[in-house]
Amino acid sequence: MRSHRSLEGELTLDHRYSPGVPDEIAVRQGLTPGAGKGLFESATITCHRCQAVVVLNPNRSRERAYCKRHDHFLCDACAVELRATGEQCVTWLDTIEEFAKRLDAGKSTADVRVPLVDPKPQPQPEATTTSIIVP
């Protein structure tokens, strides 16, 4: 059985021989206060919907968004968007597969949705293209 820890990557910030990064900058990058000083190592997760890498904060008390359907974590931005729209989660790999299928079939890829770029796709005329048009 797979554990959630098996999904984690790792971020290392090594400032043992450096003045480091002030807290106000580190926190803006999604890190915890003090992360910019000394040796900071933390687990990361990759959002399976948009592939954003999230540095896990061990002191976080809010729940971490989790997709039961795909047994993976989501970033906060994707979680908010899914809750707001009530849509089902579509993984990044599903997005790529859909894109590849349409490419193979010579169909338009214009309305394949890339998470966080085009949340409300407009119908596009059928045409063969290899690009995604962001409305």
Partner: protein
């Protein structure tokens, strides 16, 4: 499958805000070699070479307009990591120089971190199966760029590598 390491040596960062155009020789880029090539980024590392404190803010983001006519500057390399690997028929485009650099997506930022170029370094490693990926040559899907964000020092130099796999 072929695993590559894209390296840049003593590169000076430039600030590129979301929605802005990257600056040639001041970024690192990966783009599928064909319309169906799949790239998986396993590791990103950057280390500073400054002689005084300089905060570097870098992020990897997708491109809403892809870079065109890409190459590597002197000192930058893109090398197969496994001595017995065979390169794919069409190699992925790995570059830091472009006659028309890509436009960086404001929303599709996949990783962002900061470090002090005066003795500091940053490294991110993905768990197997949890890599950052790019597919083909389509905009918003095919290109990944690693470059300076708003607030990044532009006086220090950094050296960096991206380890990725072309499938």
């Amino acid at each position: 499958m072929a695993r590559y390491s894209l390296n840049v040596l003593s590169q000076t960062p430039a600030v590129t805000a979301g929605g802005g155009t990257a600056t040639t020789v001041k970024y690192m880029g990966l783009l599928g070699g064909t319309s169906t090539q799949y790239l998986r980024v396993n590791e990103v590392q950057a280390g500073g070479e400054a002689t005084s404190g300089a905060v570097i803010i870098y992020r990897m983001a997708r491109a809403s307009t892809n870079s065109a006519t890409n190459s590597l500057s002197a000192g930058a390399t893109n090398t197969l990591m496994d001595a017995v690997s065979t390169a794919p028929a069409t190699a992925p485009a790995a570059f830091n120089t472009s006659t028309s650099p890509g436009v960086i997506s404001a929303s599709l930022v996949v990783i962002r971190h900061s470090f002090n170029a005066y003795g500091g370094l940053v490294r991110w490693q993905a768990r197997q199966g949890e890599e950052i990926t790019a597919y083909g040559t389509a905009v918003n899907l095919g290109e990944l760029d690693y470059l300076g964000d708003t607030g990044c020092s532009t006086s220090a130099t950094i050296s960096a590598h991206i380890i990725y796999e072309a499938v």
